[in-house]
Symmetry: C2
Subunit: 335 residues, 2 copies
């Protein structure tokens, strides 16, 4: 194994200690539950926005805790759902008296464990919780890890936009409706050009011969639509963008937010090059307008090489909330 | 080759188009010279801060163009110095009438080409240029690519700190003196756990068997001090930190800024874990105080796996300039 770690069983806890040490002014950690919270605790009267899921997708989710985004995130083992107690602890930590919005990516383990947590909180008289499940990945309808579509890149956009709405004082029902709307307006598709290695096994998550790509790959390296020889950046951009555009039913002139996301092991040089191709294709061939964009490693699969494209059909309100200040370890602007 | 690109010869130009497309409000590109500038051009009366070097180290340097950091950056081919004309174009583009500070990493090609550019500018009556060369890498005294120590991680810190000073209106001599002081106060050491592949050759930059690490590696994969079996994160942290601390002559109680830099292919999970180890070692064993830190991919070697540690002996003024607002594609806070 060529990983920088001590004990594979302690990777997540030790990494969270480092995250908090690197951003002492922004976040704190409940080490027992592996819950990262905003420094200073929840804001009185504000809806608490919470997320959680397996680790290995950094900066998602713990890196999005902070002003204008999440109030708390719970972190499972690598590629493994948090247990119900972690979701409970995260919801409690984010509760400022106005209820909690829990954003989940659609993976069976996450959804089941979060549902148990919501029941436990209801029994114990905990905060009111609304759950929103993202399911933006158009690659496959069901998968090895999900019933229904997988939740991927749109989750970053949902957390940013609903985080801004919560900061403005919107109530829980309004935040939940907005999160569902953003999810419904977003679609993604990814490609892998190499696998990643799990710390617990030291083995590649799947076999991908050099020169091949897994089109429609999931964020744990799950199989996608098909395996084929790696094409040019222009061909890869088309293979990702066209299914997303079709599934979303985008029309000429539609404004879109684009997330060109790196899977972790692809250099920024290539991600920028890919973004140039995606943007040119969207402008010149599809005819939609890129009004905002985000290019980099935002929802990763350890050191897997590849990228994903998420398109979000925008409107003025979505752009306004997108532009609102955000101060987190992983996303920061405007303040 | 498993890279996302079209034509290996066009990688840099196409990636710069993507960088600018992703940050249209911040930067512009002179495509002919591959010079990235601040949107809106130089600030009248402000010292222009310029950098440049080979590509493949993103976000360095073009990703550091923006308010509070660089006014322009010129981008060579991957791992290849810009030619003199590029340095000339970058200096001209950054000239606001108060002279230009040119920050270079100590690599023979960069230094020679920049010197030629400075002579050309002098002959042509161009802006006054002061050159500062960073040489913070303690791993080797001379190397395959340098006479003297290599310039690595401290370059990010120099560009940030002197960028803030220039923004405050300091004159060229003062900015140059500050840049030299920051360089003198900083030292780095890196480790690779895998090589990277150059787009032009499609081959690994060097051979490193799995389970081995190259201690003291350069940012082009140049050999370091020695090759040895990869240890635990704690052992790697010690192997990086101790030589830096000794070379800097740090004493108990000294305040330091830490850059824990990823080489490109190492997941953020591992970088955070490494930072936790580095910080614990600095606090508990060395007895210095980490007053500011930066953890992530800031000066990379394409998708090489590994990391580097840069320590900067800080003082109140350095911390004040570090905290000043910066708005660039690669580094952003406070505004």
């Amino acid at each position: 194994m060529t990983k920088l770690l001590n004990d594979p069983a302690q990777v997540v806890g030790e990494a969270l200690a480092g995250l908090v040490a690197a951003h002492p002014g922004l976040v704190e950690v409940d080490a027992e539950h592996r819950v990262v919270t905003r420094r200073g605790g929840p804001t009185e009267g504000k809806v608490g926005v919470v997320s959680g899921g397996g680790s290995g997708h950094e900066p998602m989710h713990a890196g999005y805790v902070g002003r204008g985004m999440l109030d708390a995130a719970c972190c499972g083992e690598v590629f493994t759902s948090p247990v119900p107690d972690q979701f409970v602890a995260a919801c409690r930590a984010a509760d400022g008296g106005a209820g909690v919005l829990l954003v989940l990516k659609n993976y069976t383990g996450d959804v089941l464990n979060a549902e148990m947590a919501v029941e436990l909180l209801a029994e114990e008289g905990g905060p009111a919780v609304e759950t929103v499940v993202t399911d933006d990945d158009v690659a496959v309808e069901d998968s090895t890890w999900t019933a229904g579509r997988r939740g991927t890149g749109v989750t970053v956009l949902v957390e940013k936009i609903v985080g801004a709405a919560a900061e403005e004082g919107r109530d829980l029902a309004s935040c939940a409706a907005l999160a569902r709307e953003v999810n419904a307006r977003g679609r993604s598709m990814g490609v892998a050009t190499s696998a990643c290695t799990l710390p617990s096994t030291g083995r590649p998550s799947f076999d991908l011969p050099p020169g091949q790509m897994e089109l429609g790959v999931g964020i744990h390296g799950e199989p996608g639509r098909r395996r084929l020889p790696l094409g040019t950046a222009r061909e890869v951009a088309e293979a990702l963008v066209v299914p997303v555009v079709e599934d979303l039913g985008l029309r000429r002139g539609d404004p879109v937010v684009v997330l060109l996301n790196g899977m972790g092991g692809t250099p920024l040089l290539e991600l920028h090059l890919m973004f140039a191709e995606v943007r040119t294709l969207l402008h010149q061939t599809v005819g939609v307008t890129v009004v905002r964009s985000l290019v980099g490693n935002y929802i990763t699969s350890l050191e897997m090489a590849g990228c994903s494209v998420t398109l979000l059909r925008a409107d003025d309100e979505i752009v306004r909330l997108w532009d609102a200040p955000v101060v987190t370890p992983g996303l920061r602007w405007g303040a």
